[in-house]
Amino acid sequence: MTAPRLPAPHPAVNPETRPFWDATARGQLLLRRCRSCTTVNWYPRTLCPACGSFDTEWIEASGRGTIYTFAVTRRGAGAYRDATPYVLAYVELAEGPRVMTNIVDCDVGALQIGDRVEVTFHDTGQGAALPRFRPAGR
């Protein structure tokens, strides 16, 4: 697990999302897929918002994707007050969903929409890790 340079605030975890967060602590990115219509859903929830079925299951993501868009945040708040500049981004996962995240271990000035990225996990210190992404193929 990579030592975080950004803060890694611990998320609120509830019975519905606990398997997701428990998996992050093992270095796994899980997604919730619908057995009925096969849609891979985001953010993870028991209901499939694509078809209304509750017949959904956890699958492990490839951890690969591309940058859909990003912003270089220079004014932080809360835990991020002293973390600027940092990269807020949507990564389009290979499985389809576009997920909010940070791009880390990168040359901020060289980032481009469409860049290939891979998942990395930053330990919150409380039994979970934040999935973040870094440039792939290095």
Partner: protein, 389 residues
């Protein structure tokens, strides 16, 4: 055509709190002051009000506390919360309630005091189911709008200079508004050279943060006929949430793609008929995407459209936000929907500042955006006309 609200209700009173920093009053008192201002403008009193509308940020319990504070006796109450678009939604809902005979005099109020609270622009404070998957990454209002701006730039070639033209037009208008927070005209170079807040958005791409508020009074045709004040006719309304679409979001458009056509259809008019538009302007990118989505130009052509001076009153193709908007005048409580309605009413009454009054303004549009165009949002559009429209 199905029964709608067109012509069923009139805006009889409108009032904007003149202050922009209010350290000496609680929010409920500001609600009361703007309510009294709008009722006085209409020639009505608190005793006439039988419908009340406020958003979820109003003090207390779901509008009940405010009805209590204001001394209202109501047959209709609605505290729909869609962020900054709430007040444009409320205007539509008030017109619907009046059309259905549920009330005759509807009061809509906004008040907010963000300058008096500990600064906290982290949306995660709302504790929605999405927060554990978003707020933990250091999301901010400006950061999420910057995500949309960069994607729009990527897909359509929009530039920072084009976005800056929106602020330039707003600042040009604000110089004539004595109550505007920022009255100095600015240039494109000023905007581009202001500090980056969330790259690609600069400080001058962002709206102001102000204390303040506003109110409107919406009445039935029967009540309007008995008033001496020039009323504004509600012609059409549309509203739409835009969600994060199960992770398939597209940040290059807003909910205006749905709320706009619904409002135009109900009013029986087209974008080409609009003389003046109040466009929600939390950030310059909000304006750019919204004017495309409402059909004032083709998708992706917002940049060239604004660069040609289209937004400048009184003679641009689409004079917008002639009070200076949220970018320069006022964004009370971080919620700009109310002030969008108020300036549209001024334009239709011929009471905008003379330098920016659109000649013979017959039809106006007011559009509200709430939440974030970078994640999930509320969107509402109203079409308004002169009393005889």
């Amino acid at each position: 055509m199905s029964a709608g609200i067109s012509g069923a209700a009139f805006i009889a009173g409108a009032y904007e709190h003149p202050e922009r920093n209010i350290p000496d009053k609680p929010a409920e008192q500001v609600h009361a002051e703007v309510a009294a201002g709008a009722l006085a403008d209409a020639g009505l009193t608190f005793a006439d009000v039988d419908g009340y509308y406020c958003a979820g940020d109003a003090p207390g319990f779901g509008g009940i506390s405010m009805a209590d504070y204001l001394g209202l006796n109501l047959t209709q109450i609605d505290t729909t919360e869609t962020g900054g678009s709430s007040y444009v939604v409320h205007l539509g809902h008030a017109a619907e309630a009046i059309a259905a005979g549920k009330c005759q005099v509807a009061l809509i109020t906004l008040a907010g005091l963000p300058l008096q609270a500990t600064a906290n622009l982290v949306l995660g404070a709302l504790h929605g189911p999405e927060d554990s998957f978003e707020a933990v990454y250091g999301t901010s209002i400006h950061g999420m709008y910057a995500l949309a701006a960069r994607r729009h730039m990527y897909e359509y070639g929009t530039t920072s200079e084009q976005l800056a033209e929106i602020k330039v037009a707003a600042a040009h208008h604000a110089q004539y508004n004595e109550h505007a927070l920022l009255r100095e005209p600015v240039t494109v170079a000023d905007v581009i050279s202001s500090p980056l807040i969330s790259d690609p958005l600069h400080r001058l791409d962002c709206c102001v943060v102000t204390d303040g508020g506003g109110a409107v009074v919406v009445v039935s045709p029967a009540v309007a006929r008995g008033l001496s004040r020039h009323c504004v006719k509600v012609l059409g309304h549309g509203e739409a949430p835009k969600t994060s679409a199960n992770g398939r979001l597209d940040l290059t458009y807003t909910g205006a793609v749905w709320s706009g056509p619904r409002a135009f259809e109900e009013a029986g008019v087209t974008p080409a008929d609009i003389d003046y538009a109040s466009i929600y302007d939390s950030f310059t990118i909000t304006v750019l995407e919204t004017i495309e989505d409402l059909g004032f130009c083709a998708k992706g052509q917002g940049g060239p459209f604004v660069a040609g001076g289209a937004l400048q009153a009184p003679h641009g193709r689409l004079p917008f936000n002639t009070d200076g908007g949220g970018l320069c005048s006022n964004h009370p409580g971080n919620r700009g929907g109310m002030t969008k309605v108020l300036e549209a009413v001024r334009q239709l009454r011929g009471e905008a500042q003379p330098e920016v009054q659109v000649p013979d303004c017959q039809l106006a549009l007011a559009h509200g955006t709430g939440g974030s165009i970078g994640t999930r949002m509320g969107s509402s559009t109203v079409i308004l006309g002169r009393e005889d429209a």
